[in-house]
């Protein structure tokens, strides 16, 4: 299910534009304390440029780590993000809070989020699900009423 969609990580007022050409985010939720060891480490791209899907990704496989610093009311803090690339696809994301001030640390862990341009629906049969959660399934009165309204509209 890889698609060429830019993916951006939004972290507590700090935006790290790590959109890589030809990548899709397999956005597995990473534990904030996840290990970020890898064979290769390099600086993550900070310019967000999108390329057509047909082009090969210019980024070699491996794990890219970037530490960003920012100034909080408590002083300078840092946060580390690592992205793992395989065949031009982001396969793992890990955010490592490095704040020393307790409030900043709370913000880094509690407010980390990810965004994507376009979610992709995957057939439920392929997912080994126990339950599906969606907008509340309606029964009885509501369903009958919708049918009645539709019938009225046709009549």
């Amino acid at each position: 299910m890889s698609t060429s969609r830019p993916t951006a990580l939004a972290l507590a007022g700090l935006t790290l534009a790590a959109a890589l050409a030809g990548c899709a985010a397999d956005a597995t939720a990473a534990d904030a304390a996840a290990d970020a060891s890898a064979d290769q480490a390099g600086t993550a791209a900070d310019a967000a440029t999108s390329a057509p899907a047909e082009e090969r990704s210019p980024y070699a496989d491996g794990t890219y780590e970037q530490t960003a610093t920012y100034t909080s009311p408590a002083g300078e803090e840092s946060i580390a993000v690592s992205l793992t690339l395989e065949d031009g696809v982001v396969t793992a994301v890990a955010v490592t809070p490095q704040a020393t001030n307790p409030t900043s640390l709370t913000f880094q862990t509690d407010f980390a989020s990810a965004v994507a341009d376009q979610v992709v629906g995957v057939p439920v049969d392929s997912l080994e699900l126990d339950v599906v959660s969606g907008a509340s399934l309606t029964t009885g009165g509501f369903s009958d009423a919708v049918d009645a309204v539709a019938a009225d509209a046709l009549g």
Binding site: M1, T3, R5, T7, L9, A10, A12, A24, A25, D26, A27, T28, A29, A30, D31, A32, V93, V95, T109, D110, F111, A112, S113, A114, V115, A116, D117, Q118, V119, V120, G121, V122, P123, V124, D125, L127, E128, L129, D130, V131, V132, S133, G134, A135, S136, L137, T138, T139, G140, G141, F142, D144, A145, V146, A148, V149
Partner: protein, 292 residues
């Protein structure tokens, strides 16, 4: 989770999964609990407490669970600057989602009254100064899921999955040394055969709120902004993961209106928010994944 009990109640399909089949006495207690809740909070019957409060001012005693429910609404109302409110009954009726399910608007949207203007609450006593129609759909179904799980626990069933039309609570999961986490698919709005993500539930609840199932006309659905009485436009579906189904349900509604950070300050939650254009935002601590 080999055994499943399915039934319809409060307008939705329930599934209760347990390792072993539920006995008749336990099942009766579950149905009694649901019936008791419905008798208080249903907007769709003339004999409920909610219906009586809509006809006549007075002092009304709430059941014990009403305190926690309305306390949660107070917080969500503050976090969403008034967009989430239990006083939206008349606004829903105006758009057609009334007791008779006419599903045809009778006029333009009407804002919900402000609580301070019509009622006072002191613990479980509700002083209704002017008749007002409550609708607790934003968090009530979730609360009832919690209450059903409580009944099962009292009856000795503490390894359970309660699913009320997609609001799901898991108790007694792997953390309690029993069965494996439950995989919950996040249904793609408008397409029940596809999921846009998966959440793994251990000892927690995930509740979804969306505009596609209870929709009855062009732009008409049941997630209303209480300040205007009009259905929301941009956000089309949300899911919240929290420790209880009541809180997850309430937060799923609040996510239509408040930035997630405003809620994360006060609640321990994980979330997914979907927009009409197909974009999504989710917490990195989400126990699961979003497909994008």
């Amino acid at each position: 989770m080999r055994s499943a009990e399915q039934f319809d109640a409060i307008g939705t399909r329930w599934t209760v999964r347990t390792p072993d089949p539920l006995d008749g006495v336990t099942l009766d207690r579950v149905h009694a609990r649901i019936a008791g809740y419905d008798a208080v909070w249903s907007r769709f019957r003339a004999d409920s407490l909610v219906a009586r409060m809509a006809r006549r001012p007075g002092v009304y005693g709430l059941p014990a669970e009403g305190v926690a429910l309305l306390d949660l609404y107070d917080v969500l109302g503050e976090r969403t600057d008034g967009a989430v409110s239990p006083l939206v009954g008349r606004s829903l009726e105006r758009l057609g989602y009334d007791a008779a399910h006419t599903l045809v608007p009778s006029g333009p949207p009407v804002a919900a009254p402000r609580a301070a203007d019509v009622l006072d609450r002191d613990g479980d006593r509700l002083v209704v100064r002017e008749p007002v129609l409550l609708d607790v759909g934003a968090a009530g179904k979730g609360q009832l899921v919690d209450l059903v799980a409580d009944v099962l626990a009292v009856c000795g069933v503490d390894d359970v999955l309660v699913d009320a039309g997609g609001d799901v609570l898991r108790r007694g999961g792997a953390g309690g040394g029993r069965s494996e986490p439950v995989r919950v698919g996040l249904q793609q709005p408008g397409d029940a055969t596809r999921a846009v993500g998966v959440v793994e539930l251990d000892d927690a609840a995930v509740c979804g709120s969306g505009v596609d199932r209870r929709a009855w006309g062009d732009g008409l659905h049941h997630v209303l902004d209480a300040r205007t009485g009009a259905p929301t436009r941009d956000v089309v579906a949300t899911w919240a993961v929290a420790g209880s189904a009541m809180v997850a349900d309430g937060l799923a509604t609040a996510l239509f209106f408040a930035e997630p950070e405003r809620l994360e300050v006060l609640f321990d939650l994980e979330y997914v928010v979907l927009h009409a254009d197909g974009s999504a935002r989710w917490s990195l601590g989400l126990p699961g994944e979003v497909f994008a």
